[in-house]
Subunit: 441 residues, 2 copies
């Protein structure tokens, strides 16, 4: 998405651009599939208040937004499999656990307020915050086993990784980049408030249409050579293009797999060695109708039982069909990926049936997208900073290397990890390239 | 080194081998330079008891070992710059700090004894140990500021990274893979006991000589395609070779930069995203004589003042010349690399003079090797597992992927990070390939 936005914006400024897309289709970490005549998102899809740039892009492209369905009660599944219904964002965890979680959330929000999102490594106490995992912080902060378990689930849901993998500084940066924890987790008023009619992927296809011949699909960039006068970009089949500037808009682990001549500076290379992707498998199950609604359920569930971490209703606004999303995140995604496709299907449908009843076990369509398997994403939702990465190498995240600029949601200080962050990063890269080109030709 | 050992061993078994070396010279993370008529090591060089495979290789190749010079007192430089002399491995830190450090060392050794080095992720309590950084453990365990500071220096010296970057489980695995902490840090009886006459790099050049025409230099592998019947390996200039099996013997961050067809399984790709290298700059200063010896000093120093973490005497056994090594590790390496070459020289020679007196400021030769800048090492001494990496992805570390086998010191369960680990990994890969080839042709 960042590359499309960047190319589109540069073209609007009159620049000659070429977008080299590694995949057979555009969209990056958004992706769509047609099921029962509707486009369903297999990747990023939710947007919410404060994500001004993606709303602006949708408006510009004539893509309507659809509120996420919230009429009814949500589910919490406990570790023993018991189901509890709740309204709003706070499940009924028992008063002691609830207080524990509320205090932890309030502490995390307070710590996050002090973070400088442009330069997290310069935040107060950055070395100590970046010297520990989110798990160490949870273990120290939460006093109840239930509280620790719920905060772990929140981490899996938000970052698609285990709290053991995440730097506390990164967690705080990420929370601040979206506002606060509620902004990340809420549906109404939060980052899950709206979807895009026809899929977030529709934004990508509309941008691609505008690019026309300036887009090459199936063209993974393998090498970028630069000298004082320009860059030469070579794709997989050996075809090469010369340009004045290049914007690399791929996830960090993939940016590291391009061959650079001259080699990247050590600071940038060090950074790229340090940023793995989270792990997410997204499941889409469609039904003749959103049957859970008549049972008074929103379709949203949080589960403390693996493999599903959460579910969301993604039915079309007409309500003509039912669409349930299920997310398997972090270590559970790795474990599930090791099973056969038939096993995975049986496990997932069984888990959905335990949440929403036997009708959930017989969907009209059932589609799986394991982002870890995608050769040009290799995980999702976004790259995760482990301890030490921000303070050791963070200053190389956004700095251009000669004629090479960097884009992608990971380079955004606002809504890092979200579609909005990708849009912002594409716009920022286009502006930086335009300034560069104005300066130096 | 792992690749050379593997190729040599396969050739000895009668296999047809080809070694594709990315660099203009062999040796990997060993490297040599001639200064004043002596070969001096710019990379890995020390060996010690328990490293049986590298001693055996040296004996086979007719390379003698030289004991590290230990006659005299070592130096500890405090944060304020004060110098304290001490004998053996334990500096005079003050009785309270000393007790603090001794207790922490004993706890670390005790925890390390429980680790299963073949499958660290199955060790007792693995998730909790892998869910925290070494820094969290130091902060919790050491009670004195001096103790914490000294343990941080020990981490920088042993792993060339900050304790904030390192999983506690990895630290314990690494300690166990060498025996115990003393085995890693000691000179006499430990991993710094001996050097190789003519340089560790001499092992690499002698192995290369035996390979003769089966070695191609300047041939970085960019692509590995495999199908049921074999592999096709393509290097930078487009030349391709077909083979029955391939052994990839490069550091993990570089293994991730090869293009694989079909793409690597998610488990292996996840692992490669997670393993950054440590950071080390090695300095070699030569003098007409080892003048520090006449002052009663061994040449070994530990420093709590950046940038130098430690120094070692590496003078030739004849004593005809003086050779001092200085190591700049972890965050200090990144900071120093950002300075100009002239600044770096001035800073280093100033630091050496504060340790060993004004004569240290005027070396005959002064050579720097920043391993972060090396395009086919991109850091050193070895890859460092951040929290979560072993438990999330460790099982993919040594498992072959079809016809692709993995070697390099990081794949060794014994002496991970040392030359001996590299030798062992090369031998193990050769044996595995031979078994495979025997099975499947």
């Amino acid at each position: 998405m960042a590359g499309l936005v960047c190319a589109d914006r540069l073209r609007a400024r009159g620049a000659e651009v070429l977008l080299l897309e590694a995949c057979p289709q555009v969209g990056g970490r958004t992706a769509g599939i047609e099921l029962d005549g509707e486009i369903v998102d297999l990747g990023g899809q939710f947007i919410g208040p404060g994500q001004d740039r993606v709303y602006a892009l949708a408006a510009e492209l004539g893509v309507a937004t659809v509120p996420t369905y919230t009429d009814g009660e949500n589910l919490l599944q406990t570790e023993t499999g018991r189901l509890r219904r709740f309204r709003g964002m706070v499940p009924k965890l028992g008063p002691v656990t609830l207080l524990d979680v509320a205090q932890a959330q309030s502490r995390l929000d307070r710590l996050a307020r002090a973070i400088d999102t442009r330069t997290p490594w310069r935040s107060p106490n950055a070395l100590a915050l970046d010297g520990q995992t989110l798990r160490s912080w949870i273990d120290r902060t939460a006093r109840t086993r239930g509280g620790r378990r719920f905060l772990t689930l929140a981490c899996q849901a938000i970052w698609a990784c285990e709290p053991s993998e995440l730097s506390l500084l990164h967690a705080l940066f990420y929370v601040k980049s979206g506002g606060d924890l509620s902004a990340l987790t809420d549906v109404e008023g939060g980052a899950q408030q709206d979807r895009l009619d026809g899929g977030a992927y529709g934004l990508a296809t509309k941008l691609a249409d505008r690019l026309g011949g300036a887009l090459r699909l199936d063209a993974p960039v393998r090498r970028i050579e630069q000298d004082g006068s320009g860059v030469v970009v070579t794709v997989d089949d050996g075809t090469a293009w010369r340009a004045g500037r290049v914007v690399v808009a791929v996830p960090p682990p993939l940016a590291s797999r391009i061959v650079y001549h001259p080699p990247l500076p050590a600071a940038r290379d060090n950074l790229l060695q340090r940023l793995p992707m989270g792990s997410v498998i997204k499941y889409v199950a469609t039904y003749p109708e959103p049957f859970w609604r008549s049972a008074g359920l929103t379709g949203a569930a949080l589960s403390l039982r693996a493999p599903i971490a959460l579910t969301v209703d993604s039915s079309p606004p007409s309500g003509r069909r039912g669409v349930l999303l299920a997310f398997v995140n972090g270590a559970a995604a790795r474990d599930l990926a090791a099973r056969s496709p038939g096993d995975r299907r049986a496990i997932l449908l069984g888990a959905l049936a335990r949440l929403f009843g036997p009708r959930a076990a017989t969907p009209s369509n059932f589609v799986e997208r394991d982002w870890n398997q995608e050769p040009f994403a290799r995980g999702g939702y976004s790259a995760v900073f482990p301890p030490g990465a921000w303070t050791r190498a963070g200053s190389a995240l956004r700095a251009p290397v000669g004629r090479i600029h960097w884009a992608g949601t990971e380079t955004s200080a606002r809504w890092y990890g979200y579609i909005d962050g990708a849009v912002r990063s594409g716009e920022a890269a286009a502006d930086a390239v335009a300034v560069d080109a104005g300066d130096a030709g």
